[in-house]
């Protein structure tokens, strides 16, 4: 355990997470330490479950927060939730790391976030991140336990599909169709909410 000078924010408090990122953009190291305390251990779990080994996951979680420090000024709380933003950074680092692993490379600081920066048009109707997060949580709450589970688990690398099968005690072949079904249910729930 690392010594935390600042109390990490609670999981549900999206607003204080966004405030911390804004403070990090002003080079506030205490705010950074608080963000680190909350996110790094969760990002590490995410990476381990994606098939990255323990020390690699530790390094990549550090790397993720380092990118947060560098890119904090570009974070826009109106269009993106704090956790969603950090999730995409961790995900992109994972893509980058798995590629390098395939090429037998080692981790270094060469990660280039711009290599993943896709451009997206503004959403159909002007809703902000907080509203869409609310809408999404409501839709997720309407899914049954299994559906919510497979959707969550589908965020891990493909090889983890065997793990989903084991966890849910269903055949591997069923996993993909289960994910597909849950996704289309989520999508129609979101469409209804418009």
């Amino acid at each position: 355990m690392s010594a935390m000078a600042v109390e990490p924010p609670s999981a549900t408090d999206a607003e204080s997470l966004s405030r911390l990122i804004a403070a990090v953009a002003r080079q506030d190291r205490d705010a950074f330490a608080a963000l680190f305390g909350y996110f790094a251990p969760r990002v590490k779990t995410f990476l381990i479950r994606s098939g990255v080994n323990e020390s690699g996951a530790d390094e990549l979680a550090q790397e993720t927060l380092l990118v947060v420090w560098r890119k904090a000024a570009q974070f826009d709380p109106v269009t993106t939730g704090a956790t969603a933003w950090i999730f995409t950074i961790a995900r992109n680092l994972r893509i980058d790391a798995l590629r390098r692993e395939r090429r037998a490379g080692t981790l270094d600081a060469s990660f280039d976030l711009e290599a993943f920066a896709d451009e997206r048009p503004p959403p159909d109707n002007a809703i902000d991140a907080a509203q869409s997060q609310e809408r999404l949580s409501a839709a997720l709450a309407q899914l049954n336990e299994d559906q919510a589970r497979v959707i969550e688990l589908s965020f891990f690398e493909d090889k983890a599909h065997g793990e989903i099968a084991r966890l849910l005690q269903i055949p591997l072949g069923t996993v993909k169709s289960r994910v597909r079904l849950a996704m289309s249910r989520l999508r129609s729930l979101l469409d209804e909410a418009r």
């Binding site: 355990m1 690392s2 330490a33 550090q62 380092l66 420090w69 993106t80 590629r99 711009e114 965020f155």
Partner: protein, 211 residues
């Protein structure tokens, strides 16, 4: 611009999860540049990823992890890479930083320009440009072929494909695209496997079309 053809939900979900290979990721990102529907759905899926992340139990970081990161905060990020490709509009910025080959003749009225991916990918990515009225050879695919229209338009048995439209071909689809009148049709194509040309002309052409 009205976009009529979109990537499959499977593909968008894999995009959000980060499990698409680089070539396919490029094709989907190119589509999402102009498609509010798909980018909205991918953003929603990323929020689902965020919910998942928040619910994960924390794993203790190594003792000196925070100190090590704090020690690196002042280090400068690596400088951005060199040339930006801007001959053809409609490509995502990250793709425009890749290396582009030269336009190469592949058949009457048809040119191809390869894009060099910085990472290994089972998918080859290239720009395809065809003049209006070109009837592309009847073909099918040994594997998956993704196409995103950048400018101009074509039509085949599956419908009309204009800027932003996303077309998916696989071994079950056999089609013969016809380029619509007006302007050149330029597409970004991400292709796995080999293109299979059918018919006599196709068999004659195959040696020249090094795909």
């Amino acid at each position: 611009m009205t976009i009529r053809h979109h990537p499959s939900d499977d593909m968008l979900q894999a995009y959000a999860a980060g499990t698409l290979d680089e070539g396919q990721r490029i094709a989907v990102a190119t589509h999402m540049r102009t498609c509010a529907r798909c980018s909205g759905w991918v953003s929603a899926l990323e929020q689902v990823g965020a919910c998942m992340l928040e619910r994960l139990p924390p794993t203790a970081m190594s003792m000196d992890a925070l100190d090590r990161v704090l020690g690196r905060l002042s280090a400068l990020p690596p400088p951005p890479a060199g040339a930006i490709f801007d001959d053809v509009p409609g490509l995502p910025a990250f793709v425009r930083r890749y290396r582009f080959g030269q336009w190469t003749w592949v058949g009457p009225g048809v040119h191809l320009r390869p894009i060099e991916l910085p990472v290994d990918s089972p998918t080859r990515v290239f720009l395809l440009k065809a003049v209006p009225g070109t009837r592309m050879l009847q073909h099918s695919h040994t594997d998956l072929e993704l196409t995103c229209v950048l400018s101009g338009a074509f039509r085949h048995q599956g419908g009309y494909f204009g800027p932003g439209d996303f077309d998916l071909g696989d071994e079950d689809v056999e089609h013969q695209p016809l380029v619509e009148p007006g302007e050149d049709c330029i597409c970004l194509v991400a292709m796995q496997g080999k293109l299979r040309l059918s018919g006599l002309l196709g068999r004659l052409m195959q040696p020249f079309v090094r795909l």
